[in-house]
């Protein structure tokens, strides 16, 4: 019944080789506590999988539930433009309890973003991209965060390192790689 999530695109945030045999897509919200819980797990999973894994993060901010989620996503997108997306992504998840505007400005400084870039991000410069991530996720069956997809298939199993590495390894070994556009 679902369309499936959109294929990996040029403006996606990707860690790992484009020709990795398995792709893990996370739909996440920087202020969502469950995404915060998943963050170190996914880090460990990336480490274990090494070059066999391509990891993609897409925005799924629930902005009425999480008041700082939109701006956190905007900061991360500004960081992506400056080539430091993953540093921003990590910083946000590692400081999930301090995502107010002032803290975000501090992280922007730490990431070397200039203030004008942040102001323009907060004014909505990247909102189309964030919205596209969100809607693509909804159409693909994302119903909350974090939602994980392995080679385009929704992963509903337990979110611990072992289970994820097992599922990813199986997909890497047995399945055709997710088509690279």
């Amino acid at each position: 019944m679902t369309h499936g999530i959109p294929p990996i695109a040029a403006d996606d945030h990707v860690a790992g080789p484009a020709d990795a045999p398995v792709t893990l897509v996370e739909y996440g919200d920087y202020q969502c506590p469950y995404c915060g819980e998943a963050y170190p797990v996914l880090k460990a999973v990336q480490e274990e999988m090494g070059s066999r894994l391509r990891f993609v993060f897409r925005n799924f901010p629930l902005v009425d539930m999480h008041v700082h989620a939109r701006r956190a996503a905007e900061l991360a997108e500004a960081a992506a433009d400056a080539g430091v997306f993953w540093q921003a992504h990590d910083m946000l998840f590692e400081n999930q309890d301090a995502l107010d505007d002032r803290s975000l400005a501090t992280y922007g400084d730490r990431l070397g973003l200039d203030r004008a870039a942040l102001v323009s991000a907060f004014a909505g410069r990247y909102d189309d991209k964030i919205e596209r991530d969100f809607v693509g996720g909804v159409r693909g069956g994302v119903n909350g965060t974090p939602s994980l997809f392995i080679n385009g298939q929704r992963y509903e199993g337990p979110r611990d390192v072992e289970s994820l590495v097992a599922a990813l390894s199986e997909a890497a070994a047995g399945r055709v790689p997710h088509p690279v556009p």
Binding site: T2, D64, M65, V138, R139
Partner: protein, 172 residues
């Protein structure tokens, strides 16, 4: 506690049927009728209870997808057997931008008429209906109580009602 249970014994009203009209309290001093929303697609989201974790996720998600529903001109209403004050507190807490209707007295009557009342528990199923502008049910779906059904099914149903309005937003 009833998370894994299957949908209630009654079958939900199927597509093609006229959606039964109803009038339910939306706030302590306002009532809303389905017939008032005629002329626009309407999404009815029945759910078991305010405050329960999965409902929270489901209504939070539907709330976030509301701008997409509005692009189709569709109105979203939530319906549970909770009372108006409970709804008011829940809606304020979750910053909901759509009405929650209280199917409270006679309890669950509307859910029953739509075939999505769980008499044993006294709550509505987790059920979604998409009703077209003429008041005909075009899509319905009941998910297990503990599973947040997401919004993709609703969007697909809305898209089929009005393929033209959404053409530019459809994924390639």
């Amino acid at each position: 506690m009833t998370d894994e249970t299957a949908p209630g014994a009654e079958a939900p009203l199927p597509p093609g049927m006229r959606a039964p009209d109803f009038t339910l309290p939306a706030t302590p001093d306002q009532r809303l009728s389905l017939s008032e929303m005629r002329g626009h697609p309407v999404i009815l989201a029945f759910y078991p209870a305010d405050w329960s974790p999965v409902c929270g996720d489901e209504v939070g998600l539907l709330n976030a997808v509301l701008p997409e529903f509005h692009r189709f001109g569709a109105q979203l209403v939530g319906i549970s057997t909770d009372g108006v004050w409970c709804h008011a507190a829940f809606a304020a807490d979750r910053k909901l931008h759509f009405p929650l209707l209280a199917d409270f007295e006679p309890k669950g009557e509307v859910a029953l008429r739509y075939g999505v009342y769980r008499a044993a528990e006294g709550v509505a199923d987790r059920a979604l209906f998409v009703i077209d502008a003429e008041g005909v049910i075009r899509w319905s779906y009941v998910s297990p109580l503990g599973i947040n059904p997401g919004a993709d099914g609703v969007l697909e149903a809305l898209e089929q009602l009005s393929p033209k309005t959404h053409a530019e937003g459809a994924p390639a």
